[in-house]
Symmetry: C2
Subunit: 467 residues, 2 copies
């Protein structure tokens, strides 16, 4: 074993970044923007082939809407290197030695290992799939869609597969987006989902609207069904997905079943992990109790501002923010990540699905008493051409009337309306205050009472009645 | 003169409403919902032919997008009457006698007048056009678009006019929406505008983007030009619009030049008016100093929560809120209108224009020191199909970093993004806090950094630099 094991000398500090995607490379780039190579050396390790890409864009690349893989890459390894970042691709960090401030990395090609010391460390190891230990899951034609490599492998399979039957396992946002992608490619799509309704990030009454809309698009929705095995043909290729009761023939299977924090290294190094297995940080994104270690992206837990507790919410938009904040702080600036309210938005064909804050289940678990209000309205004035329906569900705390959460299912213009609620949650607003929010109105954009205001009025009356 | 001049007796109170549009009839309907006819008699006077219609929808009716006038009517006179509201159309209130709690009304047909006493009064007299006392403004073919009657008269003109040259006077939201309407109908459209740029509700640098986009749509934009006369042919019909320097041939002229509060009655009755000529109310929408008189809609001034001063902002969305609040209060409930932040959104063909809070001019006048940040981004992830550009300008207070205003010009998805800023303004948020707002992200809806977040980051840096 060789390596740059000795501590860097003099004024120049060394920053080591583990993980070359959104959080890690945003941190590195931001730090580089603020400190030149004469002040700060930056070494970044990435075990895959790519850096700084939009994993969220993979469904649209698979569908064909985004024609080229490279469009998803925000910044290539060469661009990072041109900015003075010593980027080591296909190199996996296999140990963090906190006491001696160094990491051990292994070159995927040669298998050679070496130590690199650091003054400051950023852990951005991301997430790994909650891959069920299913019999047959390794069969040809079974694909996850977490990474660009995954997406490329899926596209390779599709290019040489004759059959047109796709089974998507899971009906969270990845599952429904992949269902759209496969519909767009002309596949017969079956979604097999453990929950009673798709989109478990919504309450079941709102998930039902998604199920009905997807069935209307021609997707076969199988809910309340746990996949127990993948069945393989004599050629080693997938031929079906099996549940307790049934088999669903498949020429290709896509696993859209969520992820958990990739914190194997952090755990081995004795760094603090939360109840969901993610790293715990302070508001400056520094790992708790460690002056010179930061962490961000899909490997950390985030503070839920509505619950007042940490949650695991791996989303690219948080990872990018974390990276910026870490980069500013480790270059001697000051920035904080106050937390999240749990906003997410997805699209399946023309159906828009959005949520923020707490579901009924979350509120109950947290000991919060609440009222709900569900309303139907339209995205434009009712008389305006192509006005389409929208359902808004709102949760408010009993007695205080504080907004707790909003879920929206509709068509064009429905999804991003959730931002109104996201800001209101951040501000701790009551639903009564929300009834008079001065939102943009013109007939092409909204009824004279925006659907969010209509929901707030109904929720406010419910608070009044259950005070 | 005859009339129900004696005070109503016993337990049953009488509510009189002056004005049958959004604010007045919302108040009447809400009061009726809460109190039956045995408790509350409701008499409503409307000088026109229609009730409860969407004046904001007139451009879309004129363009043909909304095929029928009646689609704009939310509730007909017959529907109001069926709910137990004594609605008197074509009947104009000509005097309010505050001391004796009665109003004098004149029947437009017979000219007969009578007094009606009230226990509670709602003034919802709306606005009247800032019609310039232009020579020739009364010519055939010159139309305002304030009321349904105006819209009908314009459509009648269009149906028997051969020429295809339309001149729109004014480039505020009515002007630009009417420009779109006339384009849709196949007219050659010239907009003659006093200001240096269209949309004076924006700063000129943002108005420029609107001018350029409208020119690109084929609209002839004449800015910095005050209309001084309307020129008439021998047939009494309009033939051109004249400015100091030029004449613009016109087969039809549309006046889109704003309104002022219609408070002639209120002024004569000695009710309190503000600096902009609108009635002054308290937060419950009661006319200041008058226990039993409420006012709402386009005849009142509203508190601007950012400025801390009253402004005149006649918009249907405020009128509807006022009506609801008045109705609740006069039925013994409790509701308040906290004020506005000045949000408005408009569309010209596929261009979306939005603003909230203060312009630079407003901030300067109010003695506020500020920084600005203008950014360009896209409505979707850059790699997603049909991503289109969006410009966001943000104003923040110097030193405190408090958000002061946002202006947005872009295409699909640009306009309603202003709601994010509207809620943030309401909450008194700083631009620094806005940088980490948890807004909805997925590639079809937004870049990973929403354009509003990008603007907040730039504004936050500007605050830092000018602290």
């Amino acid at each position: 074993m060789s390596g740059s094991g000795s501590r860097p000398s003099g004024a120049r500090e060394r920053l080591v970044v583990i993980g070359g995607d959104a959080a890690g490379m945003s941190a590195a780039s931001q730090a580089r923007r603020l400190k030149g190579p004469d002040e700060l050396e930056i070494v970044a390790f990435e075990r895959g082939h790519f850096t700084s890409y939009s994993a969220c864009g993979i469904p649209y690349w698979v569908s064909g809407a985004v024609p080229e893989r490279d469009a998803l890459i925000a910044r290539t390894p060469e661009e990072h290197r041109a900015r003075g970042i010593d980027l080591r691709l296909r190199t996996e960090v296999v140990e963090i030695d906190v006491a001696r401030q160094r990491v051990r990395a292994r070159d995927a090609g040669s298998g050679a290992e070496s130590w690199t010391s650091y003054d400051k460390l950023v852990i951005a190891t991301g997430a790994r799939p909650l891959a069920p230990e299913l019999p047959g899951v390794g069969a040809q034609g079974v694909h996850g869609v977490q990474t660009l490599d995954d997406g490329q492998a899926l596209l390779d399979t599709l290019s040489h597969t004759r059959g047109r039957r796709a089974v998507v396992v899971g009906a969270g946002y990845i599952g429904v987006e992949m269902a759209e992608a496969m519909l767009q490619r002309g596949y017969q799509v079956t979604v097999v989902n453990r929950g009673e309704e798709p989109m478990a990030t919504l309450d079941p009454d709102m998930g039902r609207l998604v199920r009905e809309a997807m069935a209307g698009m021609g997707v076969t929705m199988v809910n309340g069904a746990e996949v127990t095995k993948v069945l393989t043909g004599d050629d080693g290729r997938v031929r079906a997905v099996g549940t307790e009761d049934a088999e669903f023939p498949a020429d290709v299977v896509i696993l859209g079943i969520g992820v958990r924090p990739e914190t194997t290294l952090a755990r081995a190094a004795g760094l603090p992990l939360g109840a969901h297995g993610g790293l715990l940080t302070d508001r400056s994104m520094r790992v708790r109790g460690h002056e010179n270690i930061w962490a961000g992206g899909d490997c950390v837990e985030v503070l839920d501002l509505v619950l007042g507790q940490e949650r695991y919410l791996p989303l690219g938009t948080h990872a990018n923010k974390h990276g910026q904040i870490i980069g500013a702080n480790l270059a001697g600036g000051y920035a904080t990540f106050p937390g999240v309210v749990g906003t997410a938005v997805s699209k399946v064909c023309d159906l828009e699905i959005a949520r923020t804050g707490l579901r009924e289940k979350d509120a109950r678990r947290a000991g919060l008493q609440y009222v709900t209000a569900t309303i139907e309205s339209t995205n434009r004035a009712g008389y305006y051409p192509n006005a389409s329906p929208m359902t808004v569900k709102m949760l408010a705390e009993r007695r205080t009337g504080r907004l707790l959460g909003v879920q929206i299912v509709g068509r064009e213009g429905a999804g991003k309306r959730v931002d109104i609620a996201a800001v209101a949650l951040t501000a701790g607003m009551t639903v009564d205050r929300m009834t008079t929010l001065d939102l943009g109105y013109a007939p092409p954009f909204s009824p004279v009472w925006d659907p969010v205001l209509v929901a707030a009025r109904k929720a406010s009356r419910a608070v009044e009645q259950h005070r």
